[in-house]
């Protein structure tokens, strides 16, 4: 089984400290628009869901499969799905293919980007996971397969039903 960022939406307060940490990691700025993790809000503020790539365990993840230039590969140490944007033609097919919407597109440079698990040799701590004040994120093992996953709206609905407990 391989590892990725696991989410616990029932604990998420929607504070976006993960977005701040992610964007600062890449730019030294508070810059949510380049964050690889994003919080989406559902049901009048009742539910917040962190949106981040779960590094599908399957051999051909939906994003990878549709790339016409074969830009996708696995990081050797983390097994994360990574994009080599050198050959990327900016067709956005990968962005559209992800069933949970975990790939983003930089319209200025016309390239996609996603969470690639920024673990360095020196640190196994992920900035977003470390920044979360409510343990809504965890770096752990997951059998995740996005193609079998519901869209976030459905995840939110089932969480809402669970919270409401039939009321």
């Amino acid at each position: 089984m391989h590892k990725a960022i696991l989410i616990y939406p029932e604990r998420c307060t929607g504070c976006r400290r993960c977005e701040i940490a992610c964007s600062e990691h890449f730019t030294d700025k508070v810059f949510p628009n380049i964050s690889r993790i994003r919080i989406l809000n559902f049901f009048e503020g009742l539910i917040d869901i962190p949106l981040v790539c779960r590094q599908c365990e399957v051999e051909d993840p939906p994003c990878w499969k549709v790339c016409p230039k074969n830009c996708f590969s696995r990081d050797k140490s983390t097994n994360a799905v990574i994009i080599n944007t050198e050959d990327c033609i900016g067709c956005e097919k990968c962005v559209k293919a992800c069933p949970i919407g975990a790939l983003f597109f930089d319209y200025e440079i016309k390239k996609p980007f996603k969470c690639e698990l920024c673990i360095t040799k020196n640190s196994s701590k992920l900035p977003c996971v470390t920044a979360c004040p409510c343990n809504a994120l965890e770096y752990g093992e997951t059998p995740f397969d996005a193609s079998k996953e519901s869209a976030l709206g459905k995840v939110a609905l089932s969480l809402k039903n669970k919270i409401m407990g039939g009321i």
Binding site: T13, K29, V30, F31, N41, E44, P133
Partner: protein
Amino acid sequence: MRNIGKGFIGNILEIDLSSQKIEIKPINLEEVKQYIGGKGYATKLLWDYMVAKKGSRLDAFDENNPLIFATGPLTGTSFPPSARACVVSISPLTGIYDDSHMGGSFGPEMKFAGYDFIIIKGSLEQPGYIWICDDKIEIRKAIDLWGKDVYRTDELIKQKHNDKRIQVASIGPAGENLVKYASITFSLHHHAGRGGLGAVMGKKKLKAIAVKGTGYIDVNNYVDFKELSMDCAKTIEKDLSLATMKKYGTARSISLSNNLYLFPTRNYQEAHFEHANKLDGEKQKNQLWVQTKACFGCSIHCNHMGIIREGVYKGTIFKGIEYEVADLLGANCGVGDLNAVAYLSMLCDKLGLDALSTGSSIAWAIECYQKGILDKKDVDNLDLKFGNYIDINKLIHKIAYRQGLGNLLAEGVKRASKKVGKGSEDFAMHVKGLELPGWGIRSAPSMGLNYATTDRGGCHQRAWPISYDLGAKTPEGEVLDRFGPEGKAKVTKYQQDVTAALYSLIACDFSTGTLGTSRLINLLNLATGWEYDENEFIKTGERIWNLSRAINFKNGMTKNDDTLPKRIFKDKISVGLGLEKNLPEENFIKMLNDYYKERGWDPETGKPTQTKLNELGLDFCEI
């Protein structure tokens, strides 16, 4: 788009709804520095508009009244409670200066879009909303949104633009119907509630402002700022006082306040509510709350979402009842049923009403009806009595839509009591038209002095000197007599000045006690590259306080408005310890005179003296 870094983006967006002219102007950083940003600089911008009007009064509903959305140099930075922003304008409720603050994500999003300040002038002929996506700014039609509540408006705007991450500021039916205490709702559950700026938006026929920004916020010294900001996060994580704030929100104070006889009850006729413990944070948490929520970047997460599980309002999703709302819609209206207060609180939010002024107006009406000042016909045949939440619910709707009695109450208690007369002015609980919040005065006189002198009328957020009444040492190390007038002026002035500066950063009240002013000043300096010290910081607060005072005099306020409702002077109530107290008027006058002296204001007119204005660099002020 230009981004100067340094905590500020560097741009002011000015939109004239009448001419549809849209301008992006660079900010004058040297001038901003004199006021820090946020509340302070927005106050200067408002002053400039009034001067441009050449001395005549600026009416809240005059189309020249600017609605100024302001962020500060710390808004949206990585410093933990960085969500705060505010709206500054002339209030339709008080006719004077108003700054109303909110959390959420709207302030940071304004900066991501490229603007530190957004100024809205003029008015539309048909309902519209403003769509801001970076430098693409459009005034769009909102005929389909007009009449919708704030939750639906938020949802529809996000649907229109197919983006869930847009931040929306909107008004509900109350703002559209020009209820004088209509709020502006931000990011669903955050409100610029006090002073009725939602009605200013309604008068401009502006249903909403929707913002999406793709930019960033940068500071002058990233490395040190980041380190200090992480230090703040750690302090917040470990702080014991904030642990209860995280758990119970502001509702943590309900039982405490009630036990200290600070909890206004049944229109300020008492200061202790027999059902207060049913409304407190622990009860809310155990019985109703299901989720914990936070503003942008904040690890205090004082917000909670709950579900009403039984009774007539079963199934309602609501945002946790805040302390002030539990008092004004709960105790002050005699409602001790937790589910009912949760519902009434949600209803005010949804319709776009300030729950504090709403509760106070209803409590005043109930007392009028009980005393026979209003008869059955005057109250639309409602069964108006303290605790009857079914009819209070109906009355809240009537206020939002200005129907029957609601039309009278929509004017606020000052105007309503003036119209009704018959002694009802004596128990219309307001200062300068702004209904009093939920902290009693007779058991904490310095709060009375604060209410009487704050820039926007009866408000607890400009200073909270109650702690000194209750025995906390003053900055000089003194302990004051709780019920006496001695020493109260100095601490009130001190807190008002500090708060005005903090509200220009903009810092959140819930963090400042824990983090301390000096740490916040360090953050300001690291963000901007300025070199503020504590003295200069507090002096700047005083500058802002005097400038808003000048605005108020320009708009017709007089020294006679620095007073309290007669009930506070006349009616004795139990304040615990077996004591019954009023606030004797002579004690109040003594505090007020001390206060003018501390401030360097003319004791005859209450105006800042020219010497004081010159000392503060406000020599351009002519009052």
